[in-house]
């Protein structure tokens, strides 16, 4: 256990020393600051009626979170892709695993450190966003903490997958494949929504399969659901030409069986990563 904590704290320290944390802090401040200005303009002096504002604000929050979830996914992919293969290529890991440590502890430590960083980043940005949106517009999403949790889960899923890939592939290949799969999963979700809206069974099934193969989009739907007030949801469903097929609407949160599957998926992929790293020749 001590080796896991040693590596986890080393991973966090690396992020701080390499100014990754500073860079993310700067980007986050910029992102939240700009969105604060946007939310202020949206609710003050935009000429919107209060009804229109009630529609626009949740939509803007969902869009912001969509963008942020993409940033989280990209960040998770980038840091996870560098965590193993680049250290093997440079020779840093050889000196570490020659010590009396389990390789699985080394990988678990890295995973834990990266998840901790991702969790802190998500919590800080989402907290800032909630505060800024409330202060500038008075709008509060139904359950921003749950939404942040789903965005984090989405990032952790991708991070775990890229970490697995990084035990076998080069950093570049692992990162690119991770981001590409994330995009494909989101696209599959959109296709599935359209299939449901237009009653095209094959598309709907393809979307559902996609959500099981890589649960990032399914978890993103959970984030969206907890950002949308019920009044907003009802109005959108009534007015949207494609209703439930709108990729920026979630009429229901992910069901427990699906969340259970996402948990199992995460554990399986993590274990696969541990086995793969254990068997990797250095």
């Amino acid at each position: 256990m001590s080796a896991i904590w040693t590596i986890a704290s080393l991973t966090v320290r690396e992020a701080v020393r390499r100014r990754l944390v500073a860079a993310f802090a700067l980007i986050s401040v910029l992102m939240v600051g700009l969105s604060g200005w946007g939310f202020y303009r949206l609710s003050h002096g935009s000429g919107f009626t209060s009804g229109e504002s009630n529609l626009a604000l949740p939509q803007a929050v969902v869009l912001f979170m969509f963008m942020f979830s993409f940033v989280v996914a990209l960040s998770a992919s980038a840091v996870a892709s560098l965590a193993v293969s680049s250290e093997i290529d440079s020779g840093v890991l050889q000196a570490v695993v020659a010590r009396p440590v389990r390789r699985s502890d080394v990988l678990l430590g890295k995973w834990l450190g990266l998840v901790g960083l991702l969790a802190a980043y998500t919590a800080i940005v989402c907290g800032l966003l909630v505060a800024v949106v409330y202060l500038t517009s008075g709008f509060v999403a139904p359950d921003p903490a749950a939404a942040a949790g789903f965005v984090l889960a989405e990032g952790v899923v991708l991070l775990t997958l890229v970490l697995l890939l990084s035990t076998r592939l080069s950093s570049l290949a692992a990162g690119v494949i991770g981001v590409a799969l994330f995009g494909v999963a989101w696209l599959a979700g959109v296709v599935g929504s359209l299939g449901a809206a237009f009653h095209i069974g094959a598309l709907h099934t393809a979307g559902e399969i996609g959500q099981y193969v890589l649960p990032t989009d399914g978890l993103w739907h959970g984030a969206m659901f907890y950002l949308e007030p019920s009044s907003f949801l009802a109005q959108q469903l009534a007015e949207s030409p494609i209703g439930q097929g709108d990729p920026f609407l979630a009429v229901a949160g992910p069901a427990w069986p699906y969340l259970t599957w996402a948990g199992i998926w995460l554990v399986l992929v993590l274990m696969l990563g541990l086995v793969s790293f254990e068997r990797r020749e250095l």
Binding site: T6, R13, R17, A95, A98, V101, E281, L282
Partner: protein, 327 residues
């Protein structure tokens, strides 16, 4: 039979003749014992049945040209790679055994450390990974820095170090915790002459405190200076093992400068070995051990003045090239 091959044949008990049963986990077990250790990468044979025994407390040179399989063998011994055949025991436990790695210091050929840590932090990290008691971390790091000549740079980031300094740091990392076995993979590849000298001093100090040093190198001079025994690896297989003396030839030559005798004076000395004359100098090769005083006495009895007696050995490089079929 060449002197080196003879050395292989002459290797005594514990020097390559032990069966697998000797590998039991006893304190008296050899530091390293490999039996037909092999490694293939697809169709490429990296190691083709390496058998060797390294006794505890000796400085063992692992020599061979580039691509001979030296680093592959080191990785198999440390459990960084898995063998495709054979077996190896290190400090009495199967190669790669996690607990045994507490007693092993390792300087990899590709020595790289976290560039964003200071040298002291790298050393403390390894103390933690070795599970040394916390109070020992700082003294152990300070001592390692001092031994490898980095005392003044302990708080500098590794990223600011030259390659030579990083290799010194790697050596410091390998020395942490007073390991019973220190595996050094090309430990002087980035060092200047002063650094190389320092490494030799460190290796001798390790031997003095009873540690085993496994020195993987292609620099013969390095082995000549510090190794008790060496094995020469070629194409993934050990072609000779023995002491330097054994590998350099057990039948030494001697060069003698003689004055005060008429021409062709040396003919009565033909029985001492194969000889060649060049002016005042006589080179007698393949002499039987211990006959140099007899040779000198014979020359004096003939009325000659012996001005100089210079023993000559085949250099390790000559033996090396001969064994590899390059000479």
């Amino acid at each position: 039979m060449s002197p080196a091959k003879s050395a292989e044949r002459q290797a005594g008990p514990g020097h390559g003749q032990d069966g697998p049963g000797v590998c039991a986990q006893t304190p008296g077990s050899p530091a390293i014992h490999a039996i037909e250790l092999s490694k293939r990468y697809g169709g490429t044979v990296a190691l083709a049945g390496l058998s060797m025994t390294v006794a505890r407390g000796e400085v063992f040179g692992f020599l061979g040209p580039n691509g001979a399989g030296k680093t592959t063998a080191v990785k198999l011994l440390l459990g960084l790679a898995r063998p495709t055949g054979g077996e190896a025991m290190v400090l009495g436990a199967p190669a790669g055994d996690r607990e045994t790695r507490r007693q092993i210091g390792y300087l990899p050929e590709l020595f790289r450390f976290q560039s964003w840590l200071t040298a002291r932090e790298v050393l403390v990290l390894h103390c933690r990974l070795m599970r040394l008691p916390r109070p020992r971390w700082a003294p152990a790091a300070d001592e390692a820095l001092q031994v490898v000549g980095l005392s003044g740079r302990g708080d500098d980031k590794v990223g600011t170090f030259s390659k030579g300094m990083q290799q010194r740091l790697g050596l410091g990392v390998a020395l942490l915790g007073e390991p019973a076995l220190v595996v050094l993979d090309e430990p002087t590849s980035a060092l200047d002459p002063v650094g190389r000298h320092d490494v030799r001093v460190i290796v001798r100090e390790l031997r003095d405190r009873g540690a085993t040093v496994f020195l993987n190198t292609h620099l013969l001079e390095e082995a000549e200076h510090v190794c008790d025994r060496v094995t020469i690896l070629s194409k993934g297989r050990s072609v000779a093992t023995g002491t330097l003396g054994e590998l350099q030839g057990t039948r030494p030559s001697v060069r003698v400068r003689v004055t005060g005798l008429p021409g062709r004076w040396w003919q009565p000395l033909a029985g001492f070995g194969r000889w060649t004359a060049d002016g005042d100098w006589l080179l007698v090769e393949e002499m039987t051990d211990g006959r140099v005083p007899e040779l000198v006495a014979a020359i004096v009895s003939l009325g000659g003045r012996v001005e100089a007696v210079i023993p000559e050995h085949q250099s390790l490089e000559e033996s090396f090239l001969e064994l590899l079929g390059e000479k």
